[in-house]
Amino acid sequence: MTTPLQVTARLRTPVTGSDHVRGAADAPVTIVEYGDFQCHYCGAAYPNLTELLRQREGTVRLVYRYFPIANVHPYAESAAEAAEAAGVRGRFWEMHDWLYEHQDQLDPVHLSLGVEQLGMPPDDIDAEVERHAHADRVRRDFVGGIRSGVNGTPTLFVNDARHDGGYALPDLLAAVDAAADT
């Protein structure tokens, strides 16, 4: 109890059919990302994760879970709820990509334009965000993350173990290759 403990947190909420998954279903390595659409560290990790999925196609799949830190990022919650609104329409990843590619345009007006740009009904989605139709889902992801030891964003779990290394492409490739070998 008197020496600092380096705790390796583990994912406690298993991946299920209701998760948003990108990549081969039978990939031996699963990365679960807890992210906040307004977090710039998440924004910086986004292209690296995309490239990782491309370079290790078939080996790794990515699961995305919501972890909005609303007290620091005022648009994080509405962005997450909009992504989930797209998700129930089978368009989660398009919205996810748009959000990370337009992180400085997450205010309601631009968000609505983004939804329209993607060919989804902006009025319907605005209304769902407005009445927090998807807030429970977002909260469920957040709580599962908190219980699993998510300590900021992004937090990645590689085959259930928290990845405490960096988010540069070489770091991610090394983590995936190590997990694939075990």
Partner: protein, 165 residues
């Protein structure tokens, strides 16, 4: 507990204190929350990136702490004015206490003071009767997250010490 300077361990009474909590001079301590669990989050300093994330994270997790009626108090040796600016910047609504004068007195009482003159990064969960239920020291650069705290609160609830709010 062979190290006399080690972090306070479970079963020990939590030392009471009265630290400034707001610039108008209001003070608070663990005794004020008797009957509820108290989470004491000692951290090295306002404004270091990892701390910001830790306190911001606890604010975001407040609905979970509320389920156990737990009070959350952040403690560092920074002054109240630093705390106030930091809390505003991070949207932190729970008290950040200034262990400023005499410097680090409360951190020392809990065995959470470092040679560099800052509080260690340490979590202490105090039960509703004022005894330490769980404590853990972390490396200064690691944001400990909230899972250890919630596990401790959950064990308290399972043993009947805390009712769900």
């Amino acid at each position: 507990m062979t190290d006399p300077n080690g972090l306070i361990g479970p079963g020990r009474p939590a030392p009471d204190f009265a630290l400034p909590a707001t610039p108008d001079g209001r003070r608070t301590g663990v005794r004020e929350y008797r009957g509820r669990p108290v989470v004491l989050a000692f951290y090295p300093a306002d404004w270091s990136p990892v701390c910001g994330d830790q306190m911001a994270l606890y604010q975001a997790a407040m609905p979970e702490f509320d389920q156990y009626r737990a009070a959350v108090l952040g403690i560092s040796v920074d002054s109240l004015w630093s705390h106030r600016a930091f809390a505003e910047d991070q949207g932190v609504g729970f008290p950040l206490l200034a262990d400023f004068e005499p410097k680090g007195e409360v951190a020392r009482a809990y065995g959470a003071y470092t040679r560099s003159g800052e509080a260690a990064r340490a979590l202490v969960v105090v039960d509703p009767d004022g005894a330490v239920a769980w404590s853990q020291l972390y490396p200064p650069e690691v944001n400990p997250g909230a899972d250890g705290i919630l596990d401790a609160l959950e064990r308290m609830r399972a043993s009947g010490e805390v009712r769900v709010g």
